[in-house]
Amino acid sequence: MELSYYPGCTLKANAKNFETSALAILQHLDVTVKELEDWYCCGVCFSQTQDNLMQQIAPVRTLVKAKESNRRQLLALCTMCFNTLKRAIEFIKNDKEKRDTIHQFMDREDTKFYGDEVEVIDILTLIRQIGLDKLKAAIVKKAVDLKVASYYGCMLLRPQEIAIDSPDDPVIMEEIITHAGCENVYFPFRTECCGSYQIVSEPEIVRERARKIVGSAVKNGADLMVMLCPLCYYNLDEVQRDIQEEDATFQPLPVLYFTQLLALLMGLKPDLQDFRLHAIDPRPVLKRKGLL
């Protein structure tokens, strides 16, 4: 299996442990990922306007590069990138008139992108495609009664047309977690927004969200929480420190990238993961559960 890979900016900067762990597990599962030779920022937030086509060009440029790579699937690890790229494909596919206008703008590219040539894929769907049995076979470490809260956030589930699973009641993360030998913790806030980019200008919104989401996972007995978005990660990990400062009774919860947990369960060298980057140190719980 071979596919293109689009890292996006954050995975090359603040979320290195996400990238290294993800690439390590994929290699372990015999999947070859080839980073696009030349890529641009995806634009982060898909523009929701009808009349401003300039904003759509950033993701389309990347999709052109993916098309030129001659590989059908394009892996986007960061869910923000996944959402933006996948919505760009929908946009290009469904509005011929606007597609033509975008093509006119993009006079420096030789390749024209029409929407069907590239499939953007997230790592959860990819693991499903690789096969849950294969995943199960790759797991070597037995986690001792590890209760995992899977947090989806927004970008994998909304809007409906790009959702990888039911927006109301998704199961894909839990399914993988079960196959990896851990116990699932259902918590009602697993699909709710963390506050997103409002961390920049309205941090109190994010604090409120983090308190609810983390609190709900803790209440339902989670030992740790896993996720796939570097922004959710920041909002739910780093922000816990701010909450702790305000509220001594707050019970923190270690947060990991989904792929970090899988890498540990596969017995891959823990030193490829820099646990010092975590605001809430996951090492005590990982040790307790036999993963370190």
């Binding site: 996006g8 900016c9 954050t10 900067a13 603040n14 979320a15 920022c41 634009g43 982060v44 937030c45 523009s47 929701q48 306007t49 009808q50 009349d51 401003n52 904003q55 960061c78 923000m80 927004c154 589930l157 909304r158 809007p159 409906q160 959702a163 927006p167 709710e192 927004c193 506050g195 997103s196 980019y197 409002q198 961390i199 920049v200 200008s201 309205e202 109190e204 919104i205 409120e208 969200r209 570097p230 922004l231 990660y233 920041y234 780093e238």
Partner: protein, 137 residues
């Protein structure tokens, strides 16, 4: 000044409604005010008016109240409202439309240089760019 607002044919056919429609492409008249968007919105407690009230005010032509309110800037574009709407009203796009109406005359909402240096280094890039995309034209 009276707190009551007059509804008039003139107001409900305001071209500002058309302008918003042109930017967002959303037909707000499908809304029957079930409030599911507001019930589900993760930031609703910071909003006034709340999402369903935003849609109602657009139907009534009170666009000025919306462009001067904080609601569109509180919205985190999580799209929960849109997927919840039983009538297919894309509320997230309406919020974007309102932001754009403001930005297209003011260029910027808030001040980017206000972000402190330490924070800027710590924050993930997508947080910063996401924020810029929503607050600068």
């Amino acid at each position: 000044m009276s707190k009551n607002k007059t509804i008039s044919a003139h107001r409900i056919s305001s071209d500002r409604i058309d302008q918003l429609h042109e930017i967002s492409g959303v037909n707000v008249y499908a809304c029957y005010q079930c409030g599911n968007c507001s019930a589900a919105c993760p930031a609703v407690e910071f909003m006034d008016p709340t999402p369903h009230q935003v849609i109602r005010k657009i139907q009534l032509g009170f666009i000025d109240e919306l462009t001067t309110s904080e609601t569109p800037w509180i919205c985190a574009a999580c799209i929960t409202c849109t997927v919840k709407c039983p009538r297919g009203v894309d509320i997230a796009k309406v919020m974007e439309g309102l932001r754009q109406i403001v930005l297209r005359s003011d260029f910027e909402h808030g001040h980017l240089c206000d972000i402190d240096e330490k924070m800027r280094k710590k924050l993930p890039q997508i947080a910063l760019i996401g924020n810029f995309r929503k607050t600068i034209l």
